[in-house]
């Protein structure tokens, strides 16, 4: 990577700064909004600098989730639900797709290509298309309002399977053969060689899938009806008052900022692995 001095290409920096400002401004507004009282925002007088009520707003959002007007669920509960869902989905996706890609790439069995294509075909059906039958199955299994119902249908992943398949195809045949001669069976080869070689891919996928899981909206909306099962993304929407009720925007803004933190932290902490996993194949 080259370090350019600012004056070398100030035009580029100028446009980049504008771009960042455009993207960051709504986030900044949310942050500012979470520091004023409800009245200030409702009257449309919110200034562009931080207000005095930050700590109380955040405590309220975290602890009870409700302001003066709307009865909500504590953000703490909802974030825990979201965390459980995002972790279960991302780890489950990685585990399932690692194993299925391993089977498709390294084993000869009847119908191998058929199964591969079946996995591939599911890519062409977005969640929304199969959401009614999926809902029917999950509700018949009695998994409404449970973590299982929330996560299991989202775990199967064609994208991750394909990604691992492509990576496994780059592992040279000779390496497999060397392991066979060294006496490593399929499971040993998986644990000792395939898994360590996949770790950057796993990290990259974890980041993507965690954010995917965290931001799920439609499925949790259908599958969770009780308040203590709802996720933060759903919860924020439900906080917006309907009809005559006024909305506690300061609480919503605080909850939004809180909801942003886990994905941001995941990206920041795993950035190094994430970029490595997407950029080089580590061979």
């Amino acid at each position: 990577m080259k370090d350019y001095a600012l004056h070398d290409n100030w035009q580029a920096h100028f446009f980049l700064i504008i771009g960042v400002a455009v993207l960051a401004f709504p986030v900044y507004l949310a942050l500012i909004g979470s520091t004023w009282d409800a009245g200030t925002i409702a009257r449309g007088e919110m200034p562009l600098y931080p207000g005095p009520d930050m700590i109380s707003n955040y405590l309220q959002a975290w602890g009870s989730g409700s302001g003066e007007r709307v009865m909500g669920v504590p953000a703490a509960t909802m974030m825990l639900n979201s965390l459980i869902m995002a972790l279960a989905i991302s780890l489950g996706k990685i585990a399932i797709s690692l194993i299925s890609a391993y089977a498709v790439v390294f084993f000869q069995f009847p119908g191998r290509m058929f199964f591969f294509w079946m996995i591939f075909v599911t890519l062409m059906l977005p969640v929304e298309v199969r959401i009614i039958p999926t809902y029917k199955v999950v509700s018949d299994l009695g998994m409404i309002n449970s973590y299982m119902g929330l996560t299991i249908p989202l775990i199967a992943s064609a994208t991750a399977t394909l990604l691992f398949r492509q990576f496994f195809l780059t592992i040279p045949d000779e390496l497999v053969e060397a392991a066979r001669i060294d006496g490593a069976g399929p499971l040993r080869f998986f644990w000792d060689t395939v898994l360590p070689l996949s770790r950057t891919n796993i990290a990259a996928l974890f980041v993507i899938m965690f954010i995917y899981g965290w931001n799920q909206y439609l499925w949790p909306l259908l599958i969770t009806t009780s308040k203590d099962m709802s996720t933060i993304v759903i919860g924020i929407v439900k906080m917006i008052g309907t009809g005559d009720a006024q909305t506690d925007w300061q609480i919503i803004m605080a909850a939004t900022i809180l909801a942003m933190l886990p994905p941001v932290m995941i990206v920041v902490f795993m950035q190094r692995w994430f970029v490595k996993g997407l950029v080089d194949s580590d061979k």
Partner: protein
């Protein structure tokens, strides 16, 4: 640690309808270094993989140390293999790469340490044990791959074109190291290559493979001096042997250069089936004639100066192109005419249809001296 006797009995291999190995047989003695040489696609790597157990034979049997191996898993065949691209575990250190096969066999730790240490000593890998393969040069990786084979103390080493990924200089150096290694451990080795220099220098015995068959099995000198088929004749030797169709005399003791003079043979040809034969002349066996009778002439078309040698190319009587290897000190330029001769015993005759070598009656296997001089 002398390795095992390996027997290849009537091995055939079909991929679908395509037959890549057509029933080959060979007895490989203990401690022998066998090189299988052939052009790409001749089935040599497939044969090696069948011996290793990575591929199953369509027909035939493999015996290692007297025991039939057809149904035995690669790990239980007590062989070690060195691959062309080294196939090192990229995420493991050199030490772990070498120890991995031993750990899988649940060997005691002290024994593993001793063996890895010994192999590292033999190969000069001492300072590199904690590095990963990507921190090593090509030659070092190749050494680690060999180390992984040595620590196993196997019945046989199988080498699958191990030097093809190295640059020319390193290849020469590693070739010598493999030779030295074999001289010190004396493990039965089967080495597959398409490089004839590797084949000639390493082999105790050489198998020249062509289109799924063994064309010639013999010592390197035997293969060079008495190639069994036209293919072997053209494949071994650099620059390649000149092969020219000629007409056989009615007494079957001389051949006629197309539109030119007769070249006497060392004796009458045995079992020549027709009058047209393929005659092979090695570029290094053609010398300048100094007034002898049986000579022929070529105009010099172009000259390649290699330093130690000079290669001269020219058409033989306007037809077949002839290459001659002369000492580097010899000065010649394009347009010159050269008067040349070749000793009768340096002529190789092959059946023009089957490509098989034709022997002469008089002492076909020994070089004759003084007859023409």
């Amino acid at each position: 640690m002398n390795g095992a006797h390996i027997r290849i009995v009537n091995i055939r291999k079909n991929f679908g309808k395509v037959c890549v190995i057509e029933g080959v047989n060979c007895d490989i003695r203990e401690s022998e270094f066998i090189v299988i040489l052939g052009p790409s696609g001749c089935g040599k790597s497939t044969l090696l993989r069948i011996i290793a157990g990575l591929e199953t034979a369509t027909e035939g049997e493999i015996y290692i140390g007297g025991k039939i191996m057809n149904q035995v898993e690669p790990k239980d065949r007590n062989i070690a293999m060195v691959f062309q691209n080294y196939a090192l575990y990229p995420h493991m250190t050199v030490w772990n790469n070498m120890a991995y096969g031993l750990k899988d066999r649940k060997m005691p730790k002290t024994e593993i340490e001793a063996r890895v240490k010994k192999a590292a000593d033999i190969l000069g890998l001492d300072g590199l044990m904690q590095r990963t393969p990507r921190q090593l040069s090509g030659g070092q990786r190749q050494r680690v791959a060999m180390g992984r084979a040595i620590v196993r103390n196997p019945a046989a080493f199988l080498f699958d074109e191990p030097l093809s990924n190295l640059d020319a200089k390193l290849r020469v150096q590693m070739r010598l190291e493999i030779k030295k290694l074999h001289q010190s451990v004396r493990t039965t080795s089967i080495y597959v290559t398409h490089d004839q220099v590797e084949a000639m220098t390493l082999a105790d015995r050489l198998i020249v493979m062509n289109a799924g068959k063994f064309d010639h099995v013999g010592t390197p000198m035997d293969v060079y001096e008495r190639p069994a088929t036209l293919f072997v004749a053209g494949f071994i030797g650099s620059p390649a042997m000149n092969i020219i169709p000629m007409e056989l005399s009615s007494e079957e003791d001389a051949v006629k250069i197309p539109g030119g003079s007769w070249l006497p043979l060392a004796g009458r040809l045995m079992n020549a089936r027709n009058k047209s034969v393929m005659v092979g002349m090695r570029p290094e066996h053609i010398t300048l004639a100094q007034g002898e009778m049986e000579s022929f002439q070529i105009p010099v078309e172009f000259v390649e100066v290699l330093g130690a040698d000079t290669l001269v190319h020219g058409p033989l009587n306007g037809e077949s192109q002839l290459t001659i290897r002369l000492p580097g000190s010899f000065k010649v330029s394009e347009g010159d005419k050269l008067k040349l001769r070749i000793r009768p015993e340096d002529l190789h005759m092959f059946d023009s249809r089957t490509g098989l070598r034709l022997m002469t009656h008089s002492n076909p296997n020994r070089r004759l001296h003084g007859q023409m001089l």
